[in-house]
């Protein structure tokens, strides 16, 4: 199984690796898998059985196509093997992958790490090993050379992380949000599921910057990011898309919705997802209650936001259309007095008026 002809492998101690699922979805060089110390099981049941019978150091699970049963599959893998379980996620599956590697209190972790696909097998075989850095997203990089030394690979991954994260707030950046939204729309198209985009900004942010200085302005943005993240569901993707402007992509988590497809489809028929509206209402409440100590005695209750909510497929079929519609609703909210979030639609309506 080892290949001496491959310059990228072996690393110091190559562990045995089991790959479960359709590896063509995960690896750019899947056809070369026989060069690596990997065993492949396309069928999930075969994978669970192999994991229980074999002595693997790592089990890589391709998430795509297994989402609805992923929890059960991972529990079964855990039951049968002590190997490190690494999820191979597409970008749009990252929120689910992240949740699965973080255990709820009193629960065992479903997986040990995740990596964002597509990857090269050499990279996976190196970084999925126990002791290596986990949960590091890797963005698509078709041009990457096969022969990349480990240290250079780490640096590339660090740069990739920088390229998708907003360094001020730690949220995702504009590029990531748009890419994620694009991928999730493609995944959702024709399934009856829903995606809703919220775009909002902080009212009078320029005033805070001018009066209190840019350092204070930055701190307000950081506080806002914490508030938004706290209000969202774990799988919603939050980003700062510029200045004081933020975006949230609300989407149906198929892992969570498994077994309840009928309920989910009925919800999708609603004009706007009620969950997204209730989360947006929570934002407004949290922002209204926020006490910005850095502004002194005047800091309580001064932070308000205005926003627009646009839903796929009702208000737009593409990322551009959804952003355009949500931006228009945001502008309307500003014109009508700020501190409100408008739904795109005819007529537009303030979510505060929706039960």
């Amino acid at each position: 199984m080892h290949s001496t002809s491959n310059p990228t492998f072996p690393p110091a101690r190559p562990g045995r690796i089991l790959l479960v699922g359709d590896i063509r979805r995960a690896f750019l060089d899947a056809s070369h898998v026989d060069r690596y110390p990997c065993e492949v099981c396309v069928n999930v049941l075969d994978g669970i059985r192999a994991a229980a019978q074999g002595r693997f150091d790592v089990v890589g699970v391709v998430m795509d196509g297994t989402l609805s049963q992923l929890g059960s599959i991972l529990m079964a893998l855990r039951k049968g093997t002590s190997a490190r379980i690494v999820l191979l996620a597409q970008m749009h599956e990252e929120p689910i992958a992240r949740r699965l590697v973080m255990a709820d209190p009193g629960e065992e972790k479903r997986a040990d790490a995740y990596m964002i696909c597509p990857l090269r097998l050499a990279s996976f075989c190196t970084h999925a090993q126990p002791g290596e850095e986990p949960q590091t997203p890797e963005t698509p990089s078709a041009e990457r050379e096969e022969a990349v030394p480990a240290e250079l690979e780490r640096r590339i991954r660090h740069l990739e992380r920088l390229a998708t994260t907003d360094d001020l707030t730690g949220l995702k950046n504009r590029r990531y949000i748009r890419e994620f939204a694009g991928q999730i729309l493609e995944q959702t198209r024709g399934t009856g599921r829903r995606v809703t985009l919220l775009v909002f900004d902080i009212d009078n942010f320029k005033h805070f910057n001018d009066v209190y200085g840019h350092a204070t302005g930055d701190e307000i943005l950081r506080q806002a990011a914490i508030l938004v993240r706290r209000c969202c569901r774990p799988h919603d993707v939050v980003g700062r898309i510029g200045g004081d402007e933020f975006a949230v992509v609300f989407w149906d988590d198929p892992y969570r919705a498994s077994g309840d497809v009928e309920r989910d489809r009925r919800s999708a028929a609603a004009e706007h997802p009620t969950e997204a509206i209730s989360v947006a209402k929570r934002f407004q409440k949290e922002f209204g209650n926020a006490d910005l100590h850095l502004l002194g005695p005047a800091g309580e209750g001064v932070l308000t936001i205005s926003g627009g909510l646009a839903s796929f497929p009702r208000d737009g079929e593409t990322v551009e259309q959804l952003f355009e519609q949500a931006d228009l609703a945001l502008l309307d909210a500003k014109r009508r007095g700020k501190n409100r979030i408008y739904l795109v639609g005819e007529p537009q309506s303030d979510i505060a008026e929706i039960e």
């Binding site: 049941l45 669970i48 059985r49 192999a50 019978q53 059960s72 529990m75 079964a76 039951k79």
Partner: protein, 151 residues
């Protein structure tokens, strides 16, 4: 005995009780994935799998093929309230699994297995089924459907 299905269901609770009454180790598994992990850890020990059709037919009936490869006897409980799925019944039959319709039949399968008659010969693939196996399975299906056999 591996019992596959909702752990809170009457079926699973009854099967676990019946097994324990007969001093048989009973391992409840909530789904087919978990059951496969159990099979993987059997290390050649004799086993009987009793489960709901819904669970055992996951992944296009691959579960039956895995069990058959280890010569493990499977019994599938048809859920009369749900669409059992023709393909599921067929894949169960082809792999030599017994299709049962109630707990009484499940108990009979357990008794038969304990008597040592429940194991099928190890087959490499469903195509290796003997004609006798197919006839027996067809008879089981006919009985389930309430039809008289021609033989």
């Amino acid at each position: 005995m591996i019992v596959v299905g909702d752990p809170c269901s009457e079926f699973v609770r009854t099967m676990v009780r019946l097994a324990r009454e007969r001093e048989v180790e009973a391992v409840p598994c909530s789904d087919a994935y978990s059951a496969v992990a159990e099979i993987g850890g059997l290390s050649g020990r004799r086993a009987l799998i009793v489960g709901t059709m819904r669970e055992l037919t996951r992944e296009n009936g691959r579960f039956f093929e895995l069990a058959a490869a280890d010569a493990i006897r499977c019994c599938c409980l048809l859920d009369t309230r749900a669409a059992a799925g023709r393909d599921g019944v067929l894949s169960a039959s082809r792999a030599g699994a017994a299709v049962i319709s109630d707990l009484r039949e499940a108990e009979e399968a357990l008794t038969e297995w304990l008597a040592g008659d429940g194991d099928r010969p190890r087959r490499l693939a469903p195509r290796d089924l003997l004609d006798d196996d197919l006839r027996a399975t067809e008879a089981e299906l006919r009985a389930l459907l309430g039809h008289k056999t021609n033989a």
